[in-house]
């Protein structure tokens, strides 16, 4: 089978979103743990330092996904971003607050000041994966896309019981992923508390994911369209969550983290598999669906972009992995923590 470039770019964008939610997923989770697990300002500082050197690089996966959509599927980018205007505005406000909070919080030695920014990090880390859950679910369930590829949506076109279930599932999943990351990067009491919380949250994640899959059966056509591929993926997701639980019980944190990472990767993958070859589903008429063909750039542009991407991606992966390697050590409160 020869892959057409349109398909290559669809896969690449899917990979970028997998990478984004895998990586930023745990730093969102760590952000949520700022209120649920950390008890003292010192512990919150430790949590932030576990992701300090890498969160910015993680976020670039999202920015690159946006850029890749713009370049490879301009109509997808235009339809989605103008159609989901309000959720995106809120998401951007949250990302802006979160990004500067990491830098600003330690610049003043004042508990109120630090608390304000810590709350910013917490709220943003909680609502961001939530909004991504809404967006992904809405992509699958369909939005009122007209013949001009424009969405005229009201709030209740994308806030539905189904998208809320998706949002809760993604948020909990990121939280669990973050908790396991904390067990890998901290020691002592904080590490134990994260592990204990994870042991409880893992059940909620399991329930939410199953609910999401069941709801997808009723609210979307992904089972009709891609059932043969999706059912094994869903089975793998269930297996991964069960494994995450048993590794957590045995305190094999690295494996538990690997399992939640796998769960995230499989969940995001199933969204894209369910869509393919569509990129957005129209709830008005399937003739108005956006596909990897009618939403795409021309073949020349895709070819150029492919060459560029294939050349650059090994370097990007290389130095990102190196950066994780440099900061592989656990973070302790006794170290110098400010920067």
């Amino acid at each position: 089978m020869v892959l057409m470039l349109n398909e290559v770019w669809f896969i690449l964008i899917a990979v970028l979103f997998v990478g984004f939610l895998f990586l930023e997923g745990f730093d969102f989770g760590v952000g949520m743990a700022m209120r649920f697990v950390a008890k003292t300002p010192g512990e919150r500082r430790v949590l932030i330092n576990t992701i300090g050197p890498v969160w910015d690089g993680n976020e670039v996966w999202l920015i690159t996904a946006g850029g890749a959509m713009f370049a490879a599927f301009p109509n997808w980018y235009a339809t989605l971003f103008s159609g989901l205007y309000m959720p995106l505005v809120i998401m951007l406000l949250l990302l802006i607050g979160r990004g500067v909070a990491f830098e600003f919080r330690s610049k003043l030695d004042n508990p109120k000041w630090r608390d304000t920014w810590d709350w910013t990090i917490f709220v943003s880390s909680l609502l961001n994966p939530f909004l991504w859950g809404v967006v992904f679910a809405a992509l699958m369930a369909g939005l009122p896309i007209d013949s001009e590829m424009n969405i005229y949506a009201s709030l209740f076109d994308y806030i539905t019981p189904y998208t809320l279930i998706g949002a809760i599932a993604i948020t909990l999943l990121c939280f669990l992923h973050g908790l396991f990351f904390i067990t890998l990067k901290t020691t002592g009491d904080l590490q134990n508390r994260a592990r204990e919380t994870a042991k409880k949250v893992v059940y909620a994640v399991g329930i939410a994911l199953v609910a999401f899959v069941v709801a997808s059966y009723f609210y979307t056509d992904i089972f009709e369209v891609r059932g043969a591929v999706l059912i094994p993926i869903f089975a793998l997701i269930v297996v991964a969550v069960i494994f995450a639980r048993s590794f957590a019980l045995k305190s094999r944190d690295g494996w538990a983290f690997t399992m939640t990472g796998l769960t995230i990767a499989l969940t995001v993958t199933s969204v894209f598999v369910g869509l393919f070859p569509r990129v957005m589903v129209s709830s008005i008429n399937h003739a108005f669906d956006l596909t990897i063909h009618n939403a795409a750039s021309g073949p020349y542009s895709l070819k150029v972009m492919t060459i560029v991407a294939v050349t650059l991606i090994p370097f990007v992966l290389g130095y990102q992995i190196w950066s994780y390697y440099v900061f592989r050590k656990r973070v302790k409160e006794e170290e110098h923590l400010e920067y």
Binding site: F70, N75, Y77, A78, S82, V89, G298, R328, R330
Partner: protein, 467 residues
């Protein structure tokens, strides 16, 4: 107000705000990399202290630059979806390359630089800051490739009612890119340099850490002078390119309604009357416009009225004259700030050479105010570039009014405009406050070393050790 007006205001305000931080980041990180290089080569602790002190300011600034940049990328799809559909094929590509080639590099290596002082060897640590610096410059290059396409579209053909790329090489070797890119980079280096000279001047006036700030001042001054001349030469090249490719912008920037005489005089001041298409008062300097346009002291320059007539033939009926006053005055402000920067730089070098810097309190006071010059200059420059292109968003192919999202309501844009402006205002205040605090505190002594702990990705994390 309607969607188009609100979207214009939003784009202008968020872009101008974003572009306060970007050039400062590019300039500061380059200077920090220079200082750390001196540290690695000469081994003097003072240079390390310098890199760290200016690094604090850089990091506060960098954070704001990054977060406001995300909005820049998403805004095209949110507010200008018709534009995105029309040009995504061409315009999206440089943005994607920018993310892949520059953003990953900047964000990863800045993390390594901040947290890596004790974990990396001196040379590897130095490499990290240089890679951040190179990353910021690469980022500027690709975003200017995208912008140049709007000014002077090349490397594409119109297919099925949209622009499709057919020559990537033409896109990145476009004459517009190669006048715009060096001009912007020199402007950015000057921005960083003037911040450092200004802050150092303030500290020298207060007689705090004199040796430290004198050294900083001198390093930054060299960069300021070189980039000052760089700005002037590349600016000249750019205006010549402009006369050829966007004569209307140039004519508006000159307030030139009728074709000029030969040789053409440069208008220093004018009272522009856009309604009657004339200037009621002008102060002219003979020959200079010819020189600016053609590098020689002869040649006439076309005025707006005759270009308007040409464009009507070419593109159909319509008003092709941009807001003349804005274009005219922003151009003058840009040129004026640029010239002032060169003079201040040279005078500083003279004082420094004669070892009179610390005694010249008047000059030092001026240098504190001069921090604002590059910001004013580059803001004015961008206003001239973007307003001067109107009514076009992609010159000759798409007008701004056709670029807006048809499905987004005025209420939605108003909501986002208010909320982004509010959060940007807060950011500006917080930043200014933090800057002043860091500067007041001054350079700090090294902290003590604490040994780092264990490796979770070894046996501990994946093995059966843990209980």
């Amino acid at each position: 107000m309607d969607v188009i007006t609100l979207s214009r205001i939003q784009f202008a305000s968020t872009t101008i705000f974003h572009f306060i931080f970007v050039p400062l980041s590019i300039g500061l990180v380059f200077l920090i990399a220079l200082m750390e290089t001196l540290y690695v080569v000469k081994g003097k602790e003072q240079y390390k202290k310098m890199a760290k002190f200016w690094g604090h300011l850089f990091l506060i600034n960098f954070a704001v630059g990054v977060v406001t940049g995300i909005l820049q990328e998403f805004q095209f799809g949110m507010n200008w979806s018709n534009y995105s559909r029309f040009v995504g094929d061409v315009f999206g590509a440089p943005l994607a390359v920018e993310a892949l080639l520059a953003f990953f590099m900047e964000s990863t290596f800045i993390g390594l630089w901040i947290f890596g002082w004790k974990r990396l060897s001196k040379k590897v640590h130095l490499m990290c800051i240089w890679l951040v610096s190179i990353g910021t410059i690469i980022s500027a290059f690709w975003i200017l490739v995208a912008n140049s396409f709007m000014q002077y579209p090349v490397g594409f053909e119109i297919n099925n009612g949209r622009a499709e790329m057919n020559d990537f090489l033409a896109l990145i070797t476009s004459g517009q890119v190669w006048v715009e890119f060096p001009h912007t980079v020199f402007g950015s280096l000057a921005t960083g340099a003037f911040l450092i000279t200004g802050v150092s001047a303030w500290k020298l006036l207060k007689k705090q850490d004199t040796a430290f700030f004198k050294k900083s001042f001198n390093i930054a001054l060299i960069v300021a002078i070189i980039s000052g001349f760089g700005i002037a030469f590349t600016g000249h090249a750019q205006s010549q390119f402009l006369v050829e490719t966007q004569p209307m912008k140039m004519a508006a920037a000159e307030g030139l309604w009728e074709d000029s005489g030969d040789p053409a005089a440069w208008t220093l001041f004018a009272n522009i009357d856009s309604d009657n298409q004339e200037n009621s008062f002008e102060v002219n300097i003979p020959y200079i416009l010819s020189y600016l346009s053609y590098s020689e002291f002869s040649g006439s320059v076309e005025g707006m009225k005759s270009i308007q007539a040409k464009y009507e033939e070419l593109y159909g009926e319509g008003d092709y004259i941009p807001p003349v006053k804005t274009t005219f005055w922003s151009f003058r402000i840009m040129v004026f700030t640029g010239g002032l920067m060169i003079l201040l730089g040279l005078y500083g070098a003279y004082l420094s050479k004669r070892k009179k810097l610390e005694q010249s309190s008047k000059y030092l006071k001026i240098m504190i105010w001069a921090i604002s010059l590059p910001f004013i200059g580059s803001t004015a420059g961008w206003i001239m570039t973007e307003i001067g292109r109107q009514p076009w968003v992609v010159f000759g192919h798409m007008q701004t009014q056709d670029a807006v999202s048809p499905n987004v309501t005025a209420g939605q844009v108003l909501f986002s405009l208010i909320s982004f402006s509010a959060i940007y205002l807060i950011l500006a205040i917080v930043m200014a406050y933090l800057f002043v605090r860091v500067i007041k505190k001054g350079p700090v002594e090294e902290e003590k070393d604490v040994k780092l702990t264990t490796d979770p990705f070894g046996e501990e994390g994946y093995g059966s050790y843990a209980k």
